[in-house]
Amino acid sequence: MSFDTRLPSIPLSRRTLLAGAASIAMLSATGAALAQTPATATVNTTGLAVSDTTVKIGILHSVTGTMAISETGSVQAEKLAIEQINASGGILGRKIEVIQEDGGSDWPTFAEKAKKLLVEDRVAAVFGCWTSASRKAVLPVFEQYNGMLYYPTFYEGLEESPNVIYTGQEATQQIIAGIDWVVKEKGAKSFYLLGSDYIWPRTSNKIARKHIEKLGLEVVGEEYYPLGHTQFNSVINKIKLKKPDVIYAIVVGGSNVAFYKQLKAAGIDMTKEKPLLLTISVTEDEVLGIGGENMVGAYAAMKYFQSLKNDNNTAFVSAFKKMWGDKIVIGDVTQAAYLGPWLWKAAVEKAGSFDIDKVRKASPGIELTTAPEGYVKIHENHHLWSKTRIGHARADGQYDVVYETKDFMEPDPFPEGYQ
């Protein structure tokens, strides 16, 4: 396979980026366009919004409502990827035009906007959604109108739609490596499972429990609190009473902040690792709200950390900061969102067409050697092969990567024996 997924090395500030994009586009319009731009009729046989010079895509995240907190990073990453793709000549000689819609943290609105993007705007791909609920709401729309969704969040699995590429990890990838690591490296014997009360934490903990019990170890407690809950003193007391080796926490959103602050205030110093805290829900983005000093010493299992040391990531982080400001942090989902447009570009170029069916057929097997996380490859089941890493939280809100799996974890959305 030889398709160009190199990151552009031109300096990127927001303003010069736009100017640069424009000038490069002009260059390619005069030079490259003559040579390699295939005719619209051949690359678009199903009436998508593709012209001789542009292709329209949709971005569908919440910029208002409670989920805006989480989804902002994804929008930023997707826009960065698209600007970079445009600056390096676009896709099949066409510049990407973005139509952004607001899901408003409201699932029916997501469905409505998804339908609008597919039916009215005829976009060639949609990058979006964050929560499982929003994905479940748009899924029938994408299947009915045959659209392509690139979904960035780590999630519970139990799904494999031909119309979705899942660029985040599904639950087993994130969970099993993390638990194996604490058991092997830290000698953990007992676990306390804790989560916000909805499908992702519950399913994830179900997989975690099965895996822990398979290893012959013990789950001493399992508990869920409503989304937005802010009082965790009771459960912290219970944890103290049960004295688990590991607190396995999948708390999300505003509850996160409350949980970690109260954990620290209750005298549980995570740096002492008695008990050790392992989470799969706190990325650098969340630490920003929690405060690094309240998170220090915790471990997180996911596929990407901002501090990851490789050339791709260095370029990605600096481009991201140039575009969105120095203070910004990049979490796992943000990186996964960044992969979306690049994976789509690769698939379109492999297929030589924007047609959804051809892109879908071309997708499995697509590799991205320029991914900030290192390397990813699309599996037959539309999830990504990726490594899982363990991060150790520092006081400045970043994670030190202390471990990464040797092999690429195979995505397994319907795990046998974990149902």
């Binding site: 409670t66 805006a68 459960v235 007391n237 902040v257 602050k261 205030a265 209750a266 920003l288 000093e293």
Partner: protein, 308 residues
Amino acid sequence: MIGDYSYSEFFSILAMQGFAGLILFSVFVLMALGLAIIFGQMGVINMAHGEFMILGAYVTYLCSVVVTDYVPFLFPVYFFVAMALAFAASFGLGVLVEWALIRHLYRRPLDTLLATWGLSLALQQLYRSVFGAREVGVTLPDWMMGSISLGDAIEIPINGLFVMGLTMIIAAAVYFIMFRSSWGKRVRAVVQNRVMAGAVGINTKQVDRMTFGLGCGIAGIAGSAFTMIGSTGPTAGQLYIVDTFLVVVFGGAGSLIGTIASAFTISQAQSTLEFFLSGSMAKVLTLLTVVGILMLRPQGLFSLNIRR
């Protein structure tokens, strides 16, 4: 031995759990007091109460940033200044809102509810535009985090103690203002008979404005204090709104004592249930019990005679 635990473990847990209940109680009182004043004394339902709290939280955040950048040696004590400023900001916004909105709607209580809901939407978007959609982290002085150990297994969170102390001070201050000062007498006079109060020379408009401002100001202090235990984001105010309203309604409109009693009942029920059940079920059971009791006794625990 009791179950799996030794006696000493059991009692230390009992103590800590009791303390957790007391912290929850303090949080509830702090949340609800401002609303209870506005609702109970003025009959105005302020749906933007949560947003006034978040205003206090954002003021605290700004203080923490400014102090760290310019006068770092004041950092250990900045929180007190921040709380005062939070009160001032929320009080100011409250007075402004009363002047612009509420005073036109006193005879239409249901409409104040809608107008303040609109206000809360606008404020949320304002916070989002100014501070960004992401949560902000408020850095606290070290002495406010951590815990005090009493004996082997008992650890008392300092921020919990702080919230409890603060609640007591605020509650005492409210008691003093409402029941021991001449201004409080005027407020109560206006509540009981607006026309007569006006006739004897009380400036009822000013009393209304100050009462509303006071309620909002207390919300601001609460928001400031909650940066220690909760999150600060544009929509975080909505996390508190249901609990707050339930506490006030359960206590009975118009009764500050009722509000405190109901905060105590609900917090103890919730923290006890949380210990024996899983978190979500505890919450549902608590709420169901509260609503169940409200079905039997809709006027709440303590009430003025409502007859409509």
